[in-house]
């Protein structure tokens, strides 16, 4: 039986899990709270970094012998396989806890339910699905990768209220306010990788790292550049920064610059008409344990990702300005190349999930409805 105290304690565990959101990659964020039979707090813990102890282990260590007959709230089904650290189900059994409540099942289909089964077999009472949606939201990238092999993909984009991202002359700095740009840095810190196209690198020479974010321990996301013809300059700003850069290029690209190859990893892939199969690219990143990718790119790469149903979410900063169309022969730049549509309902349908002001800008978060129209 689930009661209100269970929900309260699990909410606490989720808040703890969230403390690991900038550092646990490629592991999921997990939090744990242990209480006695009268629901009094005994101990808590959260997973801080891959290779370090899991949330349950940290909490059990803090509880020591008080763990006996306790209730353990944990946001993810306790593991029962030997990872880098010992299996948590075994530790819970050894500690003689009375009851385990978890929020979501292990998303890995190969082991899902095994933790529960091990606990039940040891006579421990098990309840689950408490605050499941919140726990899943926190680990949506990890879940998607476990279930599909592909990372979660979010396009971050910024435009004027009339959907222009740059002027005809390439000028785009700064459409949005300093507050929105700070918000983007905090967003980057939650992603395992930031993807862009070579066009953006050549035009803007972006750094794509986390700066100006009020985060204690920054793990710089992997920078990913889509560069079929391998024209990445070896003096690109991002190559001189902390963190790694990965450049996808056509497998027939010759003349790999020695200096470039020392500064980043170059991954050759098939292309078709000069274009990558974006699902293959994402599968490559998934195989490297990238749970989520933030795309900050121009209309060609963003459009290709959208058209090929690779995008889970869009975060769109709208600045309170109109830039207009420019001239027919030198048009201001739009957001997405989606090809020719012949009816409005062929547009990319969105479901707005969050909408708020960031400084003077409006930030809209939306999921894409890939319905089969």
């Amino acid at each position: 039986m689930i009661n209100n105290s269970d929900i309260e304690r699990m909410s606490q565990a989720i808040q703890l899990a969230r403390l690991g959101q900038y550092t646990t990659r490629p592991n999921p964020n997990v939090g744990c709270v242990i209480t006695d039979q009268n629901n009094n707090f005994i101990a808590s813990g959260y997973h801080r970094q891959a290779g370090q102890a899991h949330a349950e282990i940290i909490a059990l260590q803090a509880a020591a012998e008080r763990a006996q007959n306790s209730t353990v709230y944990v946001t993810l089904e306790p593991c029962c396989h030997q990872g880098k650290t010992g299996p948590c189900a075994e530790a819970l059994i050894a500690a003689k806890v009375k009851r385990v409540v978890f929020a979501m099942q292990d998303p890995n289909p190969l082991v899902a339910g095994n933790g529960r089964a091990a606990l039940l077999a040891a006579g421990i009472q098990v309840d689950s699905d408490v605050c499941r949606d919140q726990a899943q939201a926190l680990n949506r990238g990890f879940i998607k990768r476990m279930q599909t092999g592909l990372p979660w993909v979010t396009i971050k984009t910024a435009s004027s209220l009339d959907g222009r991202t740059a002027l005809a002359n390439g000028c785009s700095q700064w459409i949005t306010s300093a507050a929105a740009r700070r918000d983007v840095h905090t967003m980057r810190a939650r992603y395992d990788a930031i993807m862009t196209g070579i066009g953006t690198v050549l035009a803007d020479d972006p750094r794509l790292n986390v700066r100006n974010a009020d985060i204690e321990q920054v793990v710089q996301p992997l920078r990913v550049v889509m560069d079929p013809n391998l024209t990445m300059p070896s003096d690109a700003k991002m190559l001189g920064l902390a963190g790694q850069t990965l450049v996808f290029t056509d497998k027939n690209s010759s003349d790999i610059d020695l200096k470039l190859s020392q500064q980043c990893e170059i991954v050759p892939l098939d292309t078709h008409n000069g274009r990558f199969d974006m699902r293959t690219v994402l599968a490559c990143l998934g195989a490297r344990e990238i749970n989520n990718v933030m795309v900050e790119a121009g209309s060609t790469l963003c459009g290709a990702l959208i058209k090929h149903h690779c995008v889970d979410e869009i975060v769109h900063y709208l600045a309170p300005t109109y830039l207009g169309e420019g001239q027919p022969e030198a048009a201001n730049k739009g957001m997405f190349n989606l090809g020719s549509l012949t009816a409005i309902d062929q547009g990319i349908g969105l479901t707005i999930t969050d909408q708020r002001n960031i400084g003077v800008d409006v930030r809209i978060t939306a999921s894409i409805s890939y319905s089969t129209k």
Copy 2:
């Protein structure tokens, strides 16, 4: 001395004034509440329609002899000139009221302050500026016309989240939801005139009237079409509807279709390179006692109005969809032709004054900052 009861009673008067918002044109919206010396309600009234009694007169009639020694709250300075109905200041003096509180001064610079002076001269206590901002907001069009001769101009526009208003093939129905379209009809009912360009008439044959709005008494706004070459079809839908249509055309336009001239008023004006001077057009409408104009037009007319600093407000419905750019040779349609910009800060700066969801769409209301950059 102004106290909280004054603010409460004036707020009531403003709510009453608002009841006339669909019907008083070209007059302002005015409400009135009369209370006794202990602030007990005696009577109220509001101006309902031009030619009918003013708010104070209706309230005084309802109060009859109880008006003596009362306090009269009225949202606009009582008039002291003979209009279609007798001067209100005189009626207040005759009724022997003790105190008059008004929200805003008469915006007509020729008579502003005269009402107050007449009341003071008769020994009536006068306070003003109570809830002034709210009263002014309600009559912003009337105020602007009184002070500048020009109507208030609001552009209403609807686009996808990437600022596209139509596909390359002209298709634009329907980008926004039924809820947003209903909202537009309620908005139209608050305007004296709806302006569009001949391009929109030829492409969409819009009706531009008020439909599907939950309004008891609809006074159809004047429809205004900018048509330099007088290509308005005599079978345009709007010409067959209740209400009037005004067509501005070049003064050298010849061959005025007899049938067309019977269905609408044709106003010849100077043009320059086939374009009207929009300030002259607005002055024409102001001279016809049009207090406010809602523009529902394509990017050329909207862009010209914005560039020439003719726009007070923009109401922008954003639909949760992306339509993309289309192809270079057949681009999807954007919002505003503003010419070539060379720096982002040459964009049209907006101050968002309201932002809300209308059905699945986002409605943003913004004023334009015509700063001199």
